[in-house]
Symmetry: C2
Subunit: 215 residues, 2 copies
């Protein structure tokens, strides 16, 4: 292992951590991982706050100092530092299309699933938003989030009727966010892909069997 290898702090139960592990596995690179036990609230420990004062995972500690948080920022570092198997596009147009579709998966899919969970779970009372600040849950958000997830399924089904992968012909980070969102919705909101969305299901059957999806 080169001495300039970064270290990823992550948690098995964190969907955002899964987005990064999936990305790393697709690239076939070897990044040491340090598990953070969210069940034991280790993210609020002094030791972890010294790594990431925002008490969030994932976080990528670079060998030369800075700690990178936010999935998009960690992906950007890894894509630039390890260019093999590009997952964020290869041309100006494909990079833009990956950014656009990845963001749509996140804003229309991942974010509402997270919002639906965090505003509902009793254990997250007063912690409706991740991060260092306390925010009350808002119960009306739970229903609105579920409407948004239903619309996400329909919109992405329409998209996947015309393309093999979310951003087009090539597997990309947009597929990673979409797959993690589907599994997160099924597990946490009990909202699997609706049976009528056969194009979405075709895509899911193809992408979910990639070995990297189990990372």
């Amino acid at each position: 292992m080169a001495t300039d290898t970064p270290v990823l702090y992550e948690s098995k139960g964190s969907p955002n951590s899964r987005r990064v592990r999936f990305f790393i596995a697709e690239k076939g690179i070897d990044i040491p991982m340090k598990p953070v036990d969210l069940g034991a609230k280790e993210q609020f420990s002094d030791a972890y706050r010294a790594v990431n004062p925002r008490s969030q995972v994932p976080a990528l500690a670079l060998a030369d100092g800075p700690v990178i948080t936010e999935v998009l920022a960690i992906w950007r570092y890894l894509e630039e530092a390890y260019p093999q198997t590009p997952l964020l596009g290869t041309t100006a147009t494909s990079k833009a299309l990956v950014a656009m579709w990845e963001r749509r998966a996140e804003l229309d899919g991942f974010a509402p699933v997270m919002e639906g969970v965090r505003n509902a779970v009793p254990g997250l009372k007063g912690r409706a938003l991740s991060g260092p600040h306390a925010y009350d849950q808002i119960v009306e958000l739970v229903e609105r989030s579920k409407q948004r997830v239903a619309n996400f399924f329909a919109d992405f089904n329409e998209r996947l009727e015309t393309v093999r992968y979310v951003a087009g012909d090539e597997f990309s980070a947009a597929d990673i966010t979409t797959l993690v969102t589907v599994d997160f919705a099924a597990n946490a909101l009990k909202m699997p892909i609706p049976a009528e969305h056969t194009a979405f299901q075709r895509w899911y059957d193809e992408v979910s069997v990639r070995p990297s999806a189990a990372a």
Copy 2:
């Protein structure tokens, strides 16, 4: 003008359009712009839906076909196609830091301002989220959004006590999102930078006089 020049659909009153105009002006590139009149609901016209079925601005229509929406995706295209005056970082580490701080400005600042506005304004009843779907306003979100904006001011003030620009030593897209957020909060929520946050104000005084801020 080269025949492969894209066209930007945008609106003067749209803070997301301003993020793109600001970026273009910083790069000093010449991108033709087509105004979309949001006051007249032109974004819902058949003509504009043919450009962007999601009825949102900004949108960048590329000469070779695809229409790119989402600010981050438009920025990515412009950064790759017009590499002069990089605004998304230059090394793996600085690219990651720009992505991280830009996202923090957006998630902790820009998004709550938008949420506070869209869930409050009578004219946006049933349109609490931008895009093709109808969502009811949730009045409790207005207060929670304002709390988030207050925390954003405090957190970014702390950051700007130790760095010249949001992402570090260099002006970047993170400064663009932060400046647009500050003006949006002041105008739409009547929340200017609190007087005690002198580091944030020092940064604002420096960045807001760049000619590109008026684009």
